[in-house]
Symmetry: C2
């Protein structure tokens, strides 16, 4: 495994998070168990392929657990691991900052989840 | 001006922050007044062009102030605005999370600024 050297914790966090989608997926899962379709609706603009790919990477990074239930039709649910929950908590202040910024600039808000 | 609708504060924050560079630039400036060359050294891997472009966008978004001093050679310093400081504070828990994650996974750390 290649060892990357980070300049700070933020660098490491940003490297795990990648682009904007993972942050929004973590936020959309929150304390819930979410099905794939629910997540797609709650992260507007994300494609099925990109959501699937990110969820797989997040499973590999121990942020998300995928559970498959032996039902017909098959039911698959995603939830946060302990590490995922700790990342979600660390994102709370950034969420609050963004909400304040939206108020400042008068941007419309339609928060579908808290 | 186009009004974008955000699904949550985090969405808005991520939209302002853009990719990984702005987060790292904000963190590198911190409470200091930084010259361009200093910032380049403190954000390893960033090109001159990308740093310049991001600093301009951050000025436009009221996150950063650029001050030019009438000296020979010309001296230009960047510092955070009040909004930039508030974003920096909101990023602290994410930095802490990243540091803990690095410890967890045993990744080498070389934090050039705190």
């Amino acid at each position: 495994m290649a060892i990357r050297t980070y300049v700070c914790g933020l660098d490491a966090a940003v490297n795990i998070i990648g682009g904007k989608w993972k942050v929004l997926i973590i936020w959309a899962i929150g304390d819930q168990r979410r099905r794939f379709g629910e997540l797609r609706r709650q992260v507007p603009g994300i494609s099925e392929k990109v959501l699937f790919q990110h969820l797989r990477e997040m499973e590999a990074n121990d942020l998300v657990v995928r559970e498959e239930f032996d039902e017909v039709p098959a039911r698959v649910e995603y939830s946060l691991t302990e590490l995922g929950h700790s990342l979600s908590a660390a994102l709370q202040p950034l969420n609050d900052w963004g909400s304040q910024h939206m108020q400042r600039t008068g941007t419309a808000v339609a928060c579908s989840y808290s």
